[in-house]
Every structure is written in C-alpha cells, then in structure tokens.
Symmetry: C2
Subunit: 414 residues, 2 copies
Amino acid sequence: MHNFKQINPPHRLLMGPGPINADPRVLRAMSTQLVGQYDPSMTHYMNEVMQLYRALFQTENRWTMLIDGTSRAGIEALLVSSIQPGDRVLVPVFGRFGQLLCEIARRCRAEVHTIEVPWGEVFDPQQVEDAIIKVRPKLLLTVQGDTSTTMLQPLQELGEICRRHDVLLYTDTTASFGGNELKVDEWKIDAVSAGLQKCLAGPSGSSPITLNARFEDVIRRRKCVEEGIRTDDHIQGDDEFIYSNYFDLGMIMDYWGPERLNHHTEATTMLFGARECARIILQEGLTQTIERHALHGNALLAGIQHMGLNTFGNLEHRMNNVLGVEIPESIHGEQVRQMLLNDFSIEIGTSFGPLQGKIWRIGTMGYNARKDCVLQTLTALEAVLNRLGFCTKQGEAMQAAWNIYASAGEGVNS
Amino acid sequence: MHNFKQINPPHRLLMGPGPINADPRVLRAMSTQLVGQYDPSMTHYMNEVMQLYRALFQTENRWTMLIDGTSRAGIEALLVSSIQPGDRVLVPVFGRFGQLLCEIARRCRAEVHTIEVPWGEVFDPQQVEDAIIKVRPKLLLTVQGDTSTTMLQPLQELGEICRRHDVLLYTDTTASFGGNELKVDEWKIDAVSAGLQKCLAGPSGSSPITLNARFEDVIRRRKCVEEGIRTDDHIQGDDEFIYSNYFDLGMIMDYWGPERLNHHTEATTMLFGARECARIILQEGLTQTIERHALHGNALLAGIQHMGLNTFGNLEHRMNNVLGVEIPESIHGEQVRQMLLNDFSIEIGTSFGPLQGKIWRIGTMGYNARKDCVLQTLTALEAVLNRLGFCTKQGEAMQAAWNIYASAGEGVNS
C-alpha cells in the first residue's frame, strides 16, 4: 500500500472534443493555498468570479456563479430547480447532448417533448416556434454546441420566440462557451450553464451558470431554507419544493449572495481555477478569444479537407472549436487513434451512438487553440494515414492550413 | 475588466472545523497537467483511487470511488440512489449535520423519522435499536462526527443492529474521516461518504464514497442507462428510476467499472488531489494518522482546560480533530475570532443554531494536526483573551499542552 508513486501522467496533446490540456496558468492558480470559506478574501474572490463570468456570458444577471460539480451538475441544478413534476418541456434534439437534456428532464419528472433533425444539422427557428405552439411547454431546453455532432445551434432568434409564447429558455453551452459567440442578455436566454474543460482551458469539475430574473422568480417560489440554519426571517416559497438539496439554486443563491447562508463548502481550488480561466480570456479579450478559436478551427478544416478527408455535418453551422471528420472506408478509426496516442502522444476523439466508428472529432480549443497544436496534429494524422495506406497529396494539407494563417495576417514564420 | 489580479490570498492558519490548509503535496499534485478521460493513465489512476480509498475506509467494497462535488454531493448521491419516494428512514439527530440528512432525505421524498439527544451528547445503541423496532425504516442515516457539536457517534454496534432488523446503514463521515477510527466492513456499515477538506488535508470538491453489495443491490434495481449511450445489452431495473442523473450511482458505477460507460467527465484535477490525500495518509500509515489526530487533539484540550476555559459536550465522545470551547460570559466570541484573524492570521470557528455565539470550534486536523499549529493557536488565543480582560494563569495552558507532547514521547525540544 506504500507503493503508490507520485502522480506523473504521460505528456499528452489533447486534440479531442475536450477535456483538453489546461492552461498552465490555471493549474498554477489551483496550487494556491486555501483560505476559510467565509474569509473576507474568499468572499471577495467569489464576488470577483461573479463579475468575471458576467463578462464571459455577456450578461448583467446578478446570479452568475459556479455549481460545484462537472458540467452536467450545472445542467441538473438549473433543470431540477425550475422543473416541477408534470411540467412540459420541449427539447430540440440534434445530438447526444440534446438526449441528455431529455434524460435529465425526465429525472425531474417533466413531460418531455422532442423535435429532431438528422445528426449533422441544426434547427431552423421556425421549426422550434411551430413546436412551441403545439406543445406549449414551460421550458425550452437547448444545446448550443453539441459536441457529439460538432454542430452549433443558432440561438439569436430563440429568445424572442420564447418570450412571445411565455416559455423559459435554457441553453447548455458546455462545449461552445468561450469559443463561439454567446450573448445571453441580447439573445434573451433565461438560463445558461457551461463548463471549464473545453474552450476555457481549465479542468472539469466546476460549472459556471447564469440565470435572469424570470428564471429566478420560478426558483424563489420553490424556496426552502434547510432546518439547521432556518430562522423566522426566512420566507418559504409557495410552490412544491425542489427535489434536491445540493442543486437547490435558491439555497445556492443565498450562499453566493450577501446573506452567505451556509450550504455546501465551496470547492475553493476549483473556484481559484475557474477565476483564472475567466481572467485569462478577459486579458486576451473575449472577442479575440472567439476569433482565435475561429482561426485555428479554419486552419484545421482547410488541412483536413486538403488531406482528402470528408468532414461531417453542415459546415455552415459547425462549432469553431471541434470538427467532425469522416473515417475513410479503408481505415480503422480506432487504429488511427491508437497510433496517434502511442506514437505522437496526441489524442483525438471518437463519437457516440450512430456516429461511433463513423467519425473522429478533432478539437482546437482553449489552451490548444494554437498554431503549433493544429500543425502538429495535421502532420501526425497525415503520417499515420499514409502508414495505413491512405494516400494524400504530399504537402497539400499543410500548405492549406498555412495559407489560412497567412491570410489571417499570421506569416509562415510568425 | 483587465484589472483582476493574479490570485494571491493572505496566508491563513486554518484552525476551525474545516476546511483547513491543504497539504502542499496535495496542491502540487493538483497542478499536474491533464490527460484525456479515457487515457490509459487516467483509468489507471481511477483504479488506484479505488484501491487507496478502500484502504482508508478499511473495506473490500468494490464500489469505492469519488463523487464529483463537495461532501454533500456524496451524501445526496447515496441517499437519492437508495431512497424511493415513501421509503421510511430513521435519523438519530445529535447536531446540524443530522438535520442535514433529514433535509436531504425529505428532498428524496422519504418519510423521515428522527430521534434526538441534546447537542453535546451521542446515542446509546439501545436507543437506536428501540427506534428501529418502532419505526421499521428501510435505512438508518447517521453522522459519525457532527462538527456542529464536535461529538463522535460510536458506530461499532449499529451495523449488527441494522442487519438484525434488515435495515441499511449509511454514515456521513465528512468531518471525522481519516482522523478517527472507521472500520466499514468490520462494523457492517453499508454505505459511507466523506470529504477531503477535513482530516484528509485537501480542498473541498470531491467526495469519496464506498458501498457494499447490499447497498448496490438496491441501486441496481433502479438502474436506467441514459438514452444517448444505451444499447440492447443494457438491462434496465424494475424499480422506480433514480430521480437524478448526476447522482445516479448505477451510472456512476458503470463509469468507474470496466465498461467505462460515459457519464460525467471526471474532474481530473480533483481526482489527482484526492489520490494524493490518500497516498499521503497511507505513507504515514492510517493508524499513525489517527493517532496523530488524537495526540494533537489531546494537547489542544489540555491547553484549553488549563487556560481556564470550559469545553463543550461529552468529552468521552469528542472527535479527535475538533474541540468545542465555551465562550466565557465576559467575552464577545466574534471579537476574539476577529482579533485572531486580523492580528495572528489564525482562523477558528463559530457554530450553528443553538450553539451560535455560545461556543468556538477549534480544529487540529489534516495538515494542521501539528504541534506548531496547536501551540501557536493556544498562545494567540491566550494573548487575545488577556487583552480583552479574561485572566489566565501565566504559562499554565502552554505547560499543559507541552506535557501532553512530553508524555507521548515528544520531548519539549523535539
């Protein structure tokens, strides 16, 4: 039992759909010594985190904070706090993470209605409005970027549609946040959850969320302050209470708010990491960060296309930060992934369900949305494919990628 | 927005009821670069974590793993996965964290029955058995160390009692784990949850749990594999499904088990930290770690008593790692805490509910179960009390603490 060695994983370049390599600055921030959960410096950092994430979500929402858990903890917190048993919800499903929203909503005992498009496509706003008129849901649950298909659902018009029909709009942005445009207030999205392990260049384990006054109102009506800390001043809500303590956003808001009512013990190290993720992006500039994701996504796309590989899905609606690549008929997809991992220490992704074995998913996000990562991945992939007998035209893929960088004003030697 | 500085909290010596300072080795392990969630090195580390925590829990339980969230995430995962709406549970409440178990069980729509003793006391096994016979619960939910009162409930006999009456026994060991004896298999405890931020010398944000075959059986009967990854080979359970996706232990077991069925994306950095917490304890030896907590707890107790302060609760049943100290009549408790924090950078705790303003809670746990921490805290506390007009007999407290160390074979100059 004393033979467990110091942690020392192999070096990997993580070019899959996420998690990806963390920015070393985030890891350094996470090695900061702890302070008490009500230390003035800690509550100050909690307030800073709220400010920083308001900037990333492009919102004025007061309730912008972290859920202590992985991305799906943020999803479940928003869903279980808003859905009462029997509530109707509508989920436009265009990949596995739409299915996940259905799954979580069912656990909240919602009456779940779905509309579907083939994987690789996204919804037209009119399709969504038609379904809303038919179903009359309390909530519309959407995914912005569904990594399973690499598609990005346009959200601009959905907020207005939802307001028109008095529906609450929730969006899961785990895979797209920080690398693709998201304007929470302008687009009238009522609640959003995200994660750190994709474009934010942090580790999984903390889920930034934001919610507006319309969404808060639903939660507050279900408020229930727990017995050990309840006083006569605490007003309990009229509606059925929330069927989770850990994910009860009413209590979580009271913990992040001025009352600082004890709920969980904030995961300090994850909070330090989440703060650094956001700080780094705002130092670069949110617009610049998104443009960087677009640039490296475009370079990867050009390289893949000129390697003679087909991409998956509707390219007009692809995410900046992850690309679906069809596995050629003659090639065994897992063998390529193994060779990339074992011989180059580069990880690319497989996919789920109907796409398993059909496509690879290659990411360029967060700390790995960099030229060296894209070029190394392209050269390694081409070398492996050549080794397995798939012919490419010498040099074309790399030239195409380089050309994208050159046309973006990044010289070949920059 | 670019004015957020690098993280740099003040140095604190955290001598409250936890969180306490993390061991620097844990923080260093957490600054390790990431690997993919299915990388062979990652799944290897997950398996190591299972082994390491089996040793700490003193169990052979296969399902010994981490829940990604704070300690109460571990509690909720075990409760929501086992309790079906309408199930009767019995909770012996001897402090705030017993109340929390009631609260979480109610959220699971259990029929909650309680027995109570005055805060500062624990239960006699016979009281528990009598209540079991009366209530006939499906589960007995207990707290081992309730930090709100600093009491440690003896658990040795409860497992046998529960087996006799076909009741499942769950224990929350968040505050006591690693600093007090806990023999999961020998004591026949069916499920246990813990946290890192107390005697384990890590940050909050990951909850080690263990459960045995009896407990697994209840969970498996409620199994529900989510749509996006379900295949025809997956058997669904007969019982009502679990009302949470994030905390569905059936799916979490499939993720930690050989099938590695995708659920959440494991919080890699927290897992690296949790691994190091356990590794450090096993390097020292679990028995030695518990003895160290007892030694420093005894030294603190001797010092406090010889300062002329009264302790809180039944000392026979106190936890090794945290001591309740009555605030003298003439003294304003919060003023003392403020002076300790501002002038010495030492944090001690207040308490909850009926004990708020009545007692301080002083911890000696994890990385801070050390002689220098105990002696610094005692001298600082005595100095502050003297400053505020509370008389102590010059030198007595320190001599008493030193004597404990001397009698344990630790010389004054060791």
